[in-house]
């Protein structure tokens, strides 16, 4: 009885101390964490965009920000002269930076120079002296005339791609302007980043082909454009004509035709142009080119 009492006393003296409670709680927490951690890891791995803190915080809302940053890049392309939601935006429906890069079909109408219209009163007239009110494009007639100023649009495109990796235009536009300012390696690396996120993208494959062609790697460029064309057929042929992205199809075939012409394979060049024929709204121009190529004349750029 005495021995039992002394054991109980000893146990009470040990378990009655606060530090032993802390050690026990720590041990319990450790055991629980080893049990729970694999389940949590498996759950996170099942979620798309796991490991991306922006995706976790913003969810699909990040696509809104991505679009905002994409437009912001176009605002920078115009050195700040850009219509707000209160102005006439008909002339800015397609981003000019994408249109000039040849990666998007222009749908712009209206007057891009004077979307502000005439000033309505003296406040409006005076106000226009405090913000950019002349239409310019970076690299052409930017206000400070700096070399490679086009690169100023790139941070916003990079942020846009980070927020929405599935927005294809971000990669193709950025790649074009990177190539234009001599950063061919960065352009290709950015496109490959885009291709990892969008493995079926015809546009990115086409743009990668342009990168390889500029690098005088003709064989690789041909393969990429041929692959882009196959992907286009897989994705678009079943769709109604008005829903097909014929702009990119025409660009791929025209580049392939030009490549084959430069390589001396006139028959293959003509085949590409003939494939292009039904895709064009104005086939006369293509027919004239086919005739020129058959007559041994050079294939002029579009």
């Amino acid at each position: 009885m005495n021995a039992n009492n002394s054991v109980l006393d000893a146990a009470e003296s040990v378990f009655g101390r606060p530090w032993i409670h802390i050690v026990m709680l720590f041990g319990l927490a450790f055991i629980l964490s080893t049990l729970i951690h694999p389940e949590i890891s498996a759950f996170h791995a099942r979620r798309p965009d796991s490991g991306d803190p922006l995706a976790s915080i913003l969810g699909d809302g990040r696509k809104l920000f991505a679009n905002h940053f994409y437009v912001k890049a176009d605002v920078y392309f115009h050195s700040g002269y850009y219509p707000t939601i209160f102005d006439n935006r008909e002339s800015h429906q397609t981003a000019h930076m994408a249109e000039d890069a040849g990666v998007a079909e222009g749908k712009n109408t209206g007057d891009e120079e004077h979307f502000l219209g005439k000033s309505s009163d003296w406040i409006d007239a005076h106000s226009r002296k405090h913000f950019p009110s002349v239409h310019t494009h970076l690299g052409e007639d930017s206000p400070d005339g700096r070399k490679n100023a086009e690169r100023e649009i790139l941070p916003w495109l990079k942020f846009s791609a980070k927020l929405d990796p599935n927005k294809i235009e971000t990669y193709t536009v950025a790649a074009y302007w990177l190539r234009r300012t001599g950063a061919d390696g960065e352009a290709e690396a950015f496109l490959r980043e885009g291709l990892r996120a969008n493995p079926d993208s015809v546009e990115i494959l086409f743009e990668l082909g342009r990168c390889r062609y500029d690098a005088k790697d003709v064989e690789h460029a041909r393969n990429l454009w041929a692959l882009a064309w196959r992907r286009w057929q897989q994705q678009e042929v079943g769709k109604p004509a008005e829903q097909q992205n014929r702009f990119i199809a025409a660009a791929i075939l025209m580049h392939l035709a030009r490549l084959e012409h430069a390589a001396g394979d006139i028959n293959q060049c003509i085949r590409c142009l003939e494939t292009l024929l039904p895709l064009k709204q104005n086939p006369d121009e293509i027919l004239k080119r086919i005739a020129d190529v058959k007559a041994g004349l050079p294939l002029t750029a579009e």
Binding site: H126, H130, D144, E152, A183, F190
Partner: protein
């Protein structure tokens, strides 16, 4: 005049003792430098996005400093009852109001000078381009903007019950004018009718604070603004600041202090 300067001096000393400006400057510097360290396609000279972020933070900080400082002045003097010995000096209520205005405005201008010095440094280091005239114009217009906001807040502080309501209401008004001021006439034209007329009246009545925000010109390296425009803006701002101060004084003159 020396009484006004003495009152203003006290406000500036209070501003130096408080931590608001240092915290805001530290946050602006931290965010700007962190963003500046991002690798963007290996090009260290891309600067405009950084200029935009830095100037936006400077604008937010300046609005916070101007409104928060001015909104507290008169209510704090009343609450701590230091207004009575101040008025017994003798100092007139007009001198108190002017002293508070100049104190708050000078404090804003001093903090703006710090912010713009930092901006110049960041921008020049990145771009290797120092358009000092443009930066001075932006700084001056920003200072005039602060004068109007401080005067508007002082007026709010004698009209409204508590500093918190003054800060909220003036903050909303300033933000509203900055975002929509330029477009109210277009909205009025599209709306038409009585609502359109009302919007049009508001458009002509409000101080056009958006004139003083020339960030886009600075970010995209546009040429300097014509000095006649700067002079017109200064006169316009001074007129509105004066109007708000007279209204604030008229209310303060009749205000019961106990």
């Amino acid at each position: 005049m020396h009484i006004i300067l003495a009152v203003a001096g006290v406000v500036i000393l209070e501003m130096i003792r408080r931590k608001d400006v240092y915290v805001l400057l530290f946050l602006t510097a931290l965010i700007t430098l962190l963003l500046g360290s991002v690798n963007l396609f290996g090009d260290p000279n891309i600067a405009r996005y950084l200029k935009e972020v830095c100037l936006t933070l400077i604008w937010i900080s300046s609005v916070v400093i101007a409104i928060a400082t001015a909104a507290r002045q008169i209510p704090a003097e009343k609450e701590s009852r230091t207004i009575f010995p101040l008025l017994a000096k003798p100092v007139t209520r007009a001198q108190v109001m002017l002293g508070k205005f100049f104190g708050c405005w000078t404090a804003c201008v001093l903090s703006l000078a710090l912010f713009y010095a930092f901006f110049c440094l960041v921008s020049g280091t990145k771009e290797h381009y120092w358009p000092i005239t443009n930066y001075f114009q932006a700084f001056w217009l920003h200072a005039v903007f602060c004068a109007v906001v401080v005067a508007m807040t002082l007026m709010g502080s004698v009209l409204l019950a508590a500093p918190s309501s003054t800060i909220t209401i003036v903050g909303v008004v300033v933000l509203g004018i900055l975002l929509l001021g330029r477009h109210l006439n277009k909205v009025a034209a599209k709306t038409g009718g009585l609502a359109g007329d009302l919007l049009s009246a508001i458009y002509f009545a409000i101080p056009h604070l958006e004139w003083y925000d020339v960030r886009d010109l600075i970010i995209h390296n546009w040429p300097a603004i014509n000095w006649t425009v700067i002079a017109t803006d200064t006169l316009y701002g001074a007129a509105f600041a004066g109007l708000f101060l007279v209204a604030a004084w008229a209310r303060f003159r009749r205000m019961a202090l106990n």
